[in-house]
Amino acid sequence: MECDWSITSLDEHDGVALVTVDLRNPSPVDRRVRVSNRLDGPVLPPRRAGVSDPGWDEDGFDGVVPAEGRRALGYACPASPDRPPVTVTDAGRADERASDAAAVAVRELGDPRPPSDAIPTAAGDVDTDADADGNVADDPEGPTDGAEVGDVPPAVDSWLAAVAERIERGERLTDASVESATEALDADGMDVPELSRRVSDDAAALRAVAERAATLADRAAAVDVPIEALRRLQ
């Protein structure tokens, strides 16, 4: 079995190598060949509809090169382009190997998994919760200035919004006249002892977060990476 390989780095994607292997079989019989990846990363084989082409697995390719014929292969690998990228093993004369019916079924019928962009992410869940809370998150009078909302991670934003809502409800009952307190209670139908407990918990949590955030902000401000000096090291 004769083989040539080439390895190139993928443009604009540092650390992804493209490997091609050209296999030639000068003998007069079909020969089975095993191409094993030597790079330090998983094989990303050619796929159709999310299913790998026949013969590919996590470590490389297994297939037949026809008599006096050739076969070209290619795959990607998220690893540095070390040389040589593959080991080619001649597995001898190709026999009629029974194909795995289950593997054929997956390849022919297509992967039944839902597409990855249909899966709600953690951030997506938080967004949904914030929306379910009503218009609090959209309220310009809310916990954060409108201009800064984009800067606060959604999880933090939605937590602050929920806290602000509870505080607001508490404020309406603080030093309220009988009339306005009754009105507020009627409107909310809230559990007053529960609200009071939650708001005092919120106060403690907010102080702890503020303290930690301030410490982190100080540390972040003190970070000074010598970019120029490091660039020379690279």
Binding site: V104, A105, L109, R113, S116, I119
Partner: protein, 222 residues
């Protein structure tokens, strides 16, 4: 022995039939509907966890009147599950628990193809309408392609108003046809985890299930 319960259309009662067939055969019933599971789940790891390498087969089989291997219901779980692992998993269930009945999803994707590819036999489920025949034929073709012999066809949920085309089904599909009458006790059997053979052993539905089971059994001895 691995028996796949399949049928092109959704909502024809594949899960109910698989559950009751599992009871009649003394088999473990596996919910292979990776996207829209039906069988009762309970707590603990499920088929999604096995197919994504997070759990082992024995810990996912739930004891009960009919032992079950349930499937998760989350999209994320369905995304993480690798259908290529399903064949090995079903064989593993067979080693652990004996006979296996696989409740296949609707459609003709790989999550139906893989159970059919590993199954020794296949039971088709169809609704008692003439147009249901086309779906059954498509699934039969896939089963044939993947070497799962059709041992029986269940025409499911027949009401008095129906005139089930039993002869047409038998002639076209070339397999014994069982007419399963609509019986609320069958419908309730999965949720109540009470197979109709226990709940109403004398009923016509229990009879039909028994005849499907004996057709499957006869395929074992061949």
């Amino acid at each position: 022995m691995i028996v796949a319960v399949a049928g092109g259309k959704g909502g024809v009662g594949k899960t109910t039939l698989a559950y009751n067939l599992g009871a009649a055969l003394g088999a473990v019933v596996v919910d292979a509907d990776l996207g829209m599971a039906d069988l009762p789940h309970g707590r603990g790891p499920d088929l999604h966890d096995v197919l994504s390498g997070r759990a082992d087969v024995p810990e996912t089989i739930r004891d009960g009147p009919v032992p079950l291997l349930p499937c998760g219901r989350s999209l994320a779980g369905a995304r993480a599950a690798d259908v290529r692992e399903l064949a090995g998993t079903l064989r593993r269930v067979e080693t652990e628990g004996g006979d296996v009945v696989v409740d296949c999803p609707a459609g003709l994707r790989a999550d139906v193809g893989v159970p059919l590819a590993v199954a020794d036999a296949c039971v088709l489920v169809a609704s008692p309408r003439r147009f249901a025949l086309a779906d059954a034929v498509r699934t039969r073709e896939l089963a044939r392609e993947l070497d799962a012999g059709v041992t029986g066809v269940a025409i499911n949920r027949i009401t008095d108003a129906d005139d089930p085309p039993v002869d047409v089904f038998r002639r076209v599909l070339g397999a014994p046809v069982s007419a399963v009458p609509a019986d609320p006790r069958v419908g309730r059997s999965v949720e109540a985890e009470r197979p109709v053979a226990t709940a109403a052993p004398e009923s016509a539905a229990a009879d039909a299930i028994r005849s499907l089971a004996s057709a499957v059994q006869s395929c074992r001895s061949r």
